[in-house]
């Protein structure tokens, strides 16, 4: 490669770097929008998560079904902890 070609490639690289720098400077204040956030549910708020809502709905469904009987069980896990399980039977 001769010097002219090397110079051309170098010029393109440096100008691309400068363009990247310009974009980084311009994007800096725009990125400040992500500084202000809303706290997630459960972290000091009374808002229920999707999982919580689904569990409550399922429990209500089971409670409303008169053909089923609920009985609480307390089996032990492998580690010896007592688990609280609800057995549902017809």
């Amino acid at each position: 490669m001769n010097h002219k070609k090397i110079d051309k490639v170098g010029k393109v690289i440096v100008n691309a770097m400068m363009l990247g720098l310009l974009w980084a400077i311009i994007a800096l204040p725009i990125s400040s929008f992500s500084l202000v956030r809303l706290g997630k549910s459960g972290s000091g708020t009374d808002v229920l998560s999707e999982q919580d809502v689904r569990t409550i709905e399922e429990l209500n469904y089971i409670k409303e079904d008169e053909t089923k009987v609920m009985r609480e069980m307390y089996p032990e896990s492998e580690t010896g902890d007592v688990l609280n399980v609800v057995e549902i039977s017809n």
Partner: protein
């Protein structure tokens, strides 16, 4: 068999990244005179508004939360609000503060472009400015348009972000409308000045041809 040290792998990566950075820096130094003059000018003009906007955002978030009595926690993630109403209020007013700061900056640049542009400033005004030692207000097209373009780009980007946030209901929609209006007015005024400038060039060219003939 021995276990590979993860720190050793990390240090290899660090050395490689250092070499890459040094190489890039050397290329930058070598080709510094070849960098586009316009790009350097734009980078130079972009630093001040970037810092100004960042400071405005931080200050406005703190001040608005203080005035409306909104509670927030500050962590590595930023300002975290727990009340959605306060979050929307703080977000809206801090965006508005950024738009107002950009608007003021653009009014200053557009005033310079429309009244103190070196191509079409009146002789009376030039004398007055010389008398009051305010000649720095008189600027050429390259300086004015590079400033105007950078500030306008910031305003456009903030408007785009405001539209997206407005769609998701994270800021009030009237903030988006104000931002968009500022954007339209500033663009219109800058285009008017560019048209003025082009007319001046055209007239100068015609005069030159007439003098030659």
């Amino acid at each position: 068999m021995g276990v590979k040290n993860p720190k050793l792998k990390k240090s290899h990566k660090m050395i490689l990244s250092n070499i890459t950075l040094t190489l890039l820096f050397m290329i930058l130094l070598l080709y510094l005179p070849m960098i586009s003059r316009t790009l350097i000018r734009l980078i130079d003009q972009a630093i001040v508004p970037a810092i100004l906007l960042l400071c405005t955002r931080l200050a406005s978030v703190i001040l608005v939360s203080y005035f409306i009595g909104a509670k927030f926690s500050f962590s590595a993630k930023g300002f975290i609000f727990h009340d959605p109403n306060n979050y929307v209020k703080v977000n809206s007013y801090s965006t508005l503060a950024m738009v107002v700061i950009l608007g003021l900056g653009l009014i200053y640049i557009l005033a310079k472009a429309l009244y103190f542009h070196d191509t079409h400033i009146s002789p009376k005004l030039t004398t007055k400015l010389f008398h009051h030692k305010m000649t720095t207000l008189i600027q050429n097209s390259f300086e004015l348009y590079s400033q105007g373009v950078i500030w306008l780009v910031y305003l456009y980007l903030i408007t785009i972000v405001a539209v997206i946030l407005g769609i998701f209901g994270v800021i009030y929609s009237w903030v988006t409308i104000v931002s968009g209006s500022f954007c339209a007015i500033a663009t219109l005024l800058l285009i008017l000045d560019i048209e003025n400038e082009l007319d001046e060039i055209d007239e100068g060219y015609k005069e030159e041809i007439e003098n030659e003939s």
